[in-house]
């Protein structure tokens, strides 16, 4: 058989195998849409016709109406306005701190996994020591002393304290990708370390990273809620966040039980946002999972 025949035979042999993944599904799209609306509102809040969150524009404790979509709180501030502006703080903390954690922990984790050896041992022992320490206590301690609290400070504290966790996840992902033969193959071709990390490892680690990023943002938003509950977030009269709105509502609800929108709306928004993040994160992971593509 001549070489030409081989070529023809092989060409016939390639069976069409277009990528067929399970469809993304309407529910995922709803979640994505919901996340997008929140982000858009947060970004565009100053430009949108949203009532000022700190202005006492109306009577306290008003019910839902066309003027006040979700009613007003016990100081007469518009709940919808406060929620919209509050998303800036909540999302800011979530995304900002994760940006720090991934910016530092991600590259370090991948580098440690690729290089192995002494570098990995030293970095991993430092990181794992920090991991062993309950970070929530550290965050609470630092934030109680580092006053006045601002968005930036909260982002930095949560961001830094999340580095070890991100490091561990990214290192594990890179370790499993790095043990594959294609990394060896790239070395054999003469690829240098940087090229291997960016071309071979990163694309295979990115899906894990992305879905963990979404989980991280969700966790941090919830964490901000906890901090606000403890009075360790930004003061509610400076800027509202979903967390400190819930904390505020809890206190006023004791006095005025019929003021339920005060607690229902921020709780519902926070809850739905975190749920959507987690759901999309999980869906992304399975969507990008190469092994699930093949039968």
């Amino acid at each position: 058989m001549t070489n030409n025949e081989v070529v023809i035979n092989a060409a016939e042999s390639v069976v069409e195998q277009p990528e067929k993944k399970a469809p993304i599904g309407i529910f995922t799209w709803i979640c994505v849409g919901w996340l997008a609306i929140n982000v858009l509102v947060a970004v565009l809040a100053p430009l949108l016709p949203i009532p000022d969150p700190n202005e006492m524009i109306s009577m306290p404790g008003m019910g839902m109406s066309f003027d006040h979509l979700m009613g007003t709180d016990d100081l007469g501030r518009d709940i919808f306005g406060r929620l919209a502006w509050g998303s800036r703080i909540s999302l800011g903390v979530g995304i900002g701190s994760m940006a720090i954690a991934f910016g530092v922990g991600g590259p370090l984790g991948m580098l440690a996994a690729y290089r192995r050896g002494k570098m990995d041992v030293i970095m991993s022992s430092v990181m794992f020591t920090f991991l062993a320490f309950p970070s929530i206590i550290a965050i609470i301690a630092v934030l109680s002393f580092w006053t006045p609290r601002s968005l930036g400070k909260i982002i930095i504290v949560i961001g830094i304290s999340s580095i070890p966790l991100v490091y561990r996840v990214m290192r594990a992902a890179a370790l499993s990708a790095g043990s594959k033969e294609y990394v060896t193959a790239a070395r054999v071709q003469g690829a240098r370390d940087r090229r291997i990390i960016f071309r071979e490892l990163l694309p295979n680690v990115a899906p894990t990273g992305l879905s963990f990023l979404l989980f991280g943002v969700a966790t941090v938003i919830a964490l901000e809620g906890v901090l606000a509950f403890l009075g360790l977030s930004i003061a509610p009269d400076i800027a509202p966040s979903w967390g400190n709105m819930i904390n505020d509502a809890r206190q006023s609800l004791n006095n005025v039980p019929q003021n339920w929108p005060l607690i229902i709306f921020p709780s519902a928004i926070l809850c739905l946002f975190i749920l959507a993040l987690n759901f999309v994160g999980d869906r992304l992971r399975s969507y990008f999972d190469v092994t699930e593509v093949k039968l």
Binding site: V7, A10, V14, Y182, T184, A191, P203, N204, V290
Partner: protein, 325 residues
Amino acid sequence: MSEANNKVVLSVKDLEVTFRKGRQRVSAVAGISFDLYEGETLGLVGESGCGKSTTGRALMQIVPSTGGQIFVDGDELTSLNKDEARNLRRKMQMIFQDPISSLNPRRRVKDIVAEPLDCWKLAKGAERDSIVSDLLNKVGIDPAVYGNRYARQFSGGQCQRISIARSLAMRPRLLICDEVVSALDVSIQAQILNLLEDLKKEYGLTMLFIAHDLAVVKNISDRVAVMYLGKLCEIGPSDTLYAKPAHPYTEFLLGAALEADPELEQSSATLGGEPPSPLNPPSGCRFRTRCPFATEKCAAEEPQLRDIGEGHQVACHFPLVGAHQ
């Protein structure tokens, strides 16, 4: 021996690879020497754990060799610094056993094949595209249709074709194939073996073909070397070695190979026992613990590879007669 001439492309002298396993030292390759002549295919066979794959990996410096020398076209590889070694390794390429895992699932076929060109900044733009298309055509994959697909969309046989195309991009002198067909179905295996034979001719390749399957190795090789527990037992022209094995181990190995023919009488002599641990190899000849012909001399003295005619060498104090001499 078809196209082989006397020019040595690869010369291995006393190659040793030792791994540390806790406090112990495992000598995976315990001093082997062989030459590879231009245009020939040398098959390297042996059972799992004999060090054949480690040999291939040490030649590519994927695992560091702990002793001995590797000459590629006369240049010694192990004494060079990192950059010089990287340069010299351009002459050598390797194809791996697991076709799926040796391609990055998240990269496009075109980019995978062009990887060596990109690493060495050898070609760009239209020139790069035409080299890649040409290579893919050579291995039987239509670049227009499949070039932009991701590696994960291909079957094992196709992945191995893509790996071959990638390995040829640098126009290597030497191609090391490590169990390249053992993960494939028989019909696909035949396609890949034929393809390798054709490309070897076309590109004037010298090949080291590492495999455990005796029939596959014989089919593709001009000469065959048999390894046992980190040592070479025997090396010689394929047809001679298979017809008249001189080392008892080779004969047992051949006897255990099952021929797909119910009417062919199979060898009834099976080799008992299992290979000893490389942590604690036997003294003298490493095969002596399983060899029915072993004597005291075999325990006391390590047999060296010696010529028994017709380019046939054996490391045995008592080579099987009927071979030569």
